[in-house]
């Protein structure tokens, strides 16, 4: 596809359940980023991948959050034992190569997660 895609678009879950959010980056983009956007706030960095490795996981808020990437393509963000404060929009972005001077991050439409 032409852009970054994310699925599902919306997810409603019950407190304590696990959820998986998926990101398909732009073809050929080796860098992939996850951000969280709480209602009325800016984006918070969670984690980024260069290829299948995650050099920076500093933004993951707790050990309930994890992410993986395979085949230098699809990434999955997993939240275990969801809490109400996890409710947010989760945005994924990709870029050609992290650190390149011309690097620009292109964003997907996000997944809105609601934890009841």
């Amino acid at each position: 596809g032409a852009g970054v895609s994310q699925s599902p678009s919306n997810k409603v879950t019950e407190k304590g359940k696990d959820v998986e959010l998926r990101c398909d980056p732009i073809s050929g983009h080796t860098a992939l980023y996850w951000y969280r956007q709480r209602l009325g706030q800016g984006l918070e960095f969670l984690i980024y991948f260069q290829g299948n490795s995650a050099p920076d996981k500093s933004g993951l808020p707790s050990d309930r959050f994890s992410a993986e990437r395979t085949g230098e393509s699809v990434s999955t963000l997993t939240i275990q034992r969801t809490q109400q404060e996890d409710s947010a929009v989760y945005l994924c972005a990709s870029s050609t190569r992290a650190g390149a001077s011309t690097d620009t991050q292109y964003f997907g439409p996000g997944t809105r997660l609601t934890v009841l």
């Binding site: 980023y33 920076d56 690097d103 997907g108 439409p109």
Partner: protein, 116 residues
């Protein structure tokens, strides 16, 4: 750590008029990148304009231009000839120049309303 501040939660402008959105940031780095992203109700983050800190010339993209004041750590966005399609949340973002620190740090955003 870098911080980005947008002090105007909301702004409005008459269609065809000019509006300026403010952004200040704090960093100890000398080289970095600054961005303005637009987020319409669709949630898709769209890059509006970018500025490399080592360039003295202000970036322009059609009706969008920035006023980059490095010493003052200010990075404002000017939108000329405002159009209804410009209505959105606008986020200012900072990215380090150093390899391995590619995450974007965002401000809290400014909601721009266009008055017909």
């Amino acid at each position: 750590a870098q911080t980005v501040t947008q002090s105007q939660p909301e702004m409005s402008v008459q269609e065809a008029e000019t509006v300026t959105l403010s952004c200040t940031y704090d960093t100890s780095e000398s080289d970095y990148y600054l961005f303005w992203y637009k987020q319409p109700p669709s949630r898709q983050m769209i890059l509006v304009i970018r500025q490399e800190a080592y360039k003295q010339q202000n970036a322009t993209e059609n009706r969008f231009s920035v006023n980059f004041q490095k010493a003052a750590k200010s990075f404002s966005l000017k939108i000329s000839d405002s159009q209804l399609g410009d209505a959105a949340m606008y986020f200012c973002a900072y990215r380090s120049y150093s390899f391995g620190n590619e995450k974007l740090t965002f401000g809290t955003g400014t909601r721009l309303t266009i008055i017909p």
